[in-house]
């Protein structure tokens, strides 16, 4: 097991190098630092000194890959690639283009993100599994048909509509909770209720439909027929046998997104003014702060790969028939 985890971790390294090189190419080769400086300082009437100054402040005044002027190893290390991209491997995110410490910002902002994403995931899971069970119990009836149709309708509504509609209905018309904002500690609750509800409703259609297919697939298997042949009631079969077996694909599917919960949800967070990593990313994108975007790309890939690793491990725990080699 440990050897397997170790091997998978080693396998992640070339992927992260790939991500790193890709972002490096995107951010520094497609457009040179000069272009970026000009973009930030205003397009036309920029003096060359101002550009040099801007690059100097942010450390973009080095050569891209090879610094011929620096002595010894400096030829490799005193470059933009080493300073800006390779440093990400030790989670040194450096400073943003506006001068803030990215690592510190991330460590502060991931908790509000988690405070939304985790309840959304858990409540959503509970609600969707319940609905899917219900639909599967009444399969091939009108409840099944209309349940699926409602799921498709819910899926077809833009997530923006759920957010705007929820804000308008609950926040503005009914005045139940504040429309947006955030407070640390226990006060966060009233700010979190609405985003969580909206998040759950937004995800219900797709996941209920997906879980329904899983349940129906399980219901067609031989052990279900055996259980029925033994004379067990349909309810017993559904809850004791089918639910347990269907939970394996459902939960392992959830594991892969667990690490990504830290990244938060871009749209929800910025609509509700939650100071999480999602709104951080959006702010970075709108203010064209490339350093932050670069850091988030790398962080996102690390978390995704971690999710894959956790999925593989959770398969072995959930289903002992699977052997890892």
């Amino acid at each position: 097991m440990i050897a397997y985890i170790l091997r998978r971790t080693l396998y992640a390294i070339p992927i992260l190098i790939g991500v790193n090189v890709l972002t490096f190419v995107l951010f520094f080769v497609v457009n040179s630092p000069d272009d970026m400086a000009r973009m930030h300082l205003g397009m036309k009437y920029v003096k060359p000194e101002a550009i040099e100054n801007w690059k100097e402040e942010r450390g973009y005044n080095r050569p891209l890959l090879w610094n011929g002027e620096a002595p010894g190893l400096g030829a490799l290390t005193d470059t933009i690639f080493f300073q800006k991209s390779a440093q990400l491997f030790v989670f040194d995110f450096g400073r943003s283009d506006s001068g803030r410490n990215i690592g510190y910002d991330i460590s502060q902002r991931m908790w509000p993100s988690l405070a939304i994403a985790l309840p959304v995931l858990l409540v959503g899971l509970l609600v969707s599994i319940t609905f899917a069970m219900l639909i599967a119990f009444f399969r091939a009836t009108y409840i099944d048909l209309w349940g699926v149709v409602i799921c498709v309708v819910l899926m077809s509504i833009s997530s923006l509509f759920y957010i705007i509609g929820g804000q308008y209905l609950v926040g503005k018309l009914l005045h139940l909770v504040p429309i947006s904002g955030y407070a640390p500690g226990i006060d966060a609750f009233k700010f979190l209720v609405l985003p969580v509800i909206v998040g759950v409703i937004g995800g219900i259609g797709a996941s209920t439909r997906w879980y329904r297919t899983i349940f129906l697939e399980e219901l067609g298997k031989d052990y279900v027929r055996t259980a029925r042949a033994k004379g067990l009631s349909e309810r017993y079969v559904l809850f004791r046998h089918v639910l347990r077996n269907a939970l394996i694909p459902i939960l392992t599917g959830v594991v892969v997104v667990l690490p990504l919960l830290f990244m938060g949800s871009l749209i929800t967070e910025s609509f509700f003014g939650i100071p999480g990593l999602g709104s951080y990313t959006i702010q970075a994108i709108t203010s064209q702060d490339f350093a932050i975007v670069r850091a988030m790309v790398f962080l996102g890939s690390v978390l995704y790969i971690l999710g894959l690793l956790l999925t593989d491990i959770s398969y072995t725990i959930a289903d002992p028939r699977i052997r890892l080699h």
């Binding site: 790939g18 973009m39 308008y168 975007v293 790309v297 996102g300 890939s301 995704y304």
Partner: protein, 464 residues
């Protein structure tokens, strides 16, 4: 003077491919069978009717030209403005621009203005709209006027629908070799494999709405006007093309890579498999929004530095739309490639492929002749399933400012600009509502249609 933008060219390429595909399918019974099942699905066909309307509007909106200027002698002069055939048809609605916001069916502007009265005094009041409800002698009569126009439009719509329905039934009775009344009874009772009644009813609703919109649209602004006074109904219709382009061209640009790489990985295995898997795992591990953001930010920098390389604002917006499709395609092809790899792995060990290898048939001939036809159903299902997700994604991307160009008409841009006006009192809701209604209709029918296609093509679900 016609102009072909990049996305226009690709759209027509797509149309050509589709037509070719249809002609090919017609001559192959094993391919026709699943399509026949799609034709027999009620929800699927109702959705198909709605999709047809959207696609026709999108196609009309893809024929761009510079309109010829009136007057003048000698060589014809052309306007610098680039419009489409659809714009030209919609002329009466497109050109009626008010000053700023006005509510649906309003006869007065949304904001007060200082107005001079005949007596010389100045009062602040809601001014009359330039065009909306201008024909009314007394604005208090508006309700009756709308009712009268709607009744007339409904009557016309029903008439046209009845005519089309009769034509259809005549055509059907000829084909089936039956009498008119017999055919009518079969259709109305919903007998027969193809749900003609559902198709007719959906078409009826569409025709009715079209007539209502056309008759009311030239007298009022049926979805109100936006901040700069443009008719929201027209903008929502214009956005159809953007939605369709993103939903279809994205798949078109990614398809060759996904098919080729996916099948190669599964068929050749070994180092080819390793390399291809590495490429798509790497791409997949970057959160797609961030990859799109990074790419679009870089494009923005490039475009503003090299502004002189683009002929016009439209051409630049079009390039950005195309680039967005490509980058969305890059983030999207991995799923399909993985599916195809798995299927090709399975197929590569099947006996007829081994026989072909034993006969010394070349690898790429085997891929083209034996593997590709056997994975086409996966490709088709994933193309259709991806469509609605992409249309929805466009709105989200527009919100993050990494979607289509701000000058392009799209539902995302409409929602994004309307969102800022949510705080106004009374609330400006019509842009949002129009964008959501049009987007919802498209996505819902795409979802229903793709369900019908999946049911017909997925061998695990296919029955009989």
């Amino acid at each position: 003077m016609p102009v072909i933008l990049w996305t226009d060219a690709l759209i027509f390429l797509l149309v050509a491919v589709t037509v070719g595909f249809v002609l090919y399918v017609r001559h192959h019974e094993h391919l026709r069978a699943p399509w026949r099942q799609v034709l027999h699905s009620r929800l699927g066909m109702a959705a198909a009717v709605v999709l047809c309307v959207y696609v026709s509007i999108g196609l009309l909106d893809s024929l761009h030209f510079h309109p010829r200027l009136e007057g003048g002698t000698g060589a014809p002069r052309y306007s610098t403005e680039l419009i489409s055939v659809f714009d030209w048809i919609m002329g009466p609605i497109r050109e009626r621009v008010e000053k700023t916001y006005s509510a649906p069916f309003a006869s007065h502007l949304y904001v007060k203005e200082a107005m001079g009265r005949p007596g010389g005094e100045v009062v602040r009041a809601f001014p009359h709209l330039e065009y909306g409800g201008r024909h009314l002698a007394d604005p208090a009569q508006k309700g009756w006027d709308i009712l009268a126009i709607s009744l007339r439009a409904s009557a016309e719509g029903l008439l046209v629908w009845g005519g089309l329905g009769a034509l259809l039934i005549v055509a059907l009775s000829r084909r089936w070799g039956r009498r008119f009344s017999e055919t009518l009874r079969t259709v109305v009772r919903g007998h027969g494999p193809i749900p003609w009644l559902v198709i007719l009813l959906t078409a009826g609703v569409v025709i009715l709405l079209a007539f209502l919109a056309a008759r009311l649209g030239v007298k009022y602004h049926i979805f109100g006007t936006d901040k700069v006074g443009q008719d929201v109904f027209y903008l929502a219709l214009k956005s159809i093309r953007t939605g369709l382009v993103i939903g279809t061209l994205t798949t078109l640009v990614m398809l060759p890579f996904a098919i080729l790489l996916g099948i190669m990985a599964g068929y050749f295995r070994g180092w080819v498999d390793d390399v291809i898997q590495y490429v798509y795992t790497t791409l997949n591990s970057i959160p797609s929004v961030l990859l799109i953001a990074a790419a679009i930010l870089m494009l923005q920098v490039y475009m503003s530095i090299h502004a002189e390389r683009f002929e016009s604002v439209t051409a630049r917006a079009d390039m950005r739309l195309l680039f967005l499709c490509i980058i969305l395609g890059i983030t999207n092809w991995t799923g399909l490639a993985r599916l195809l790899r798995g299927e090709a792995l399975k197929l590569a060990s099947v006996e007829y492929i081994q026989a072909a290898q034993a006969f010394g048939v070349g690898n790429f001939t085997i891929i083209a002749r034996h593997i590709l036809p056997n994975v086409m159903h996966i490709v088709l299902i994933s193309v259709v399933l991806d469509f609605s997700g992409l249309v929805l994604a466009e709105a989200v991307l527009a919100y993050v400012n990494i979607g289509v160009d701000p000058t392009t008409n799209s539902w995302g841009n409409m929602i994004n600009s309307a969102r800022l006006e949510m705080g106004r009192e009374p609330i400006v809701w019509w842009s949002l509502a129009a964008a959501f209604v049009f987007m919802f209709t498209l996505v819902l029918s795409a979802n229903l249609f793709s369900d019908a296609v999946r049911d017909a093509f997925d061998p695990r679900i296919r029955r009989g």
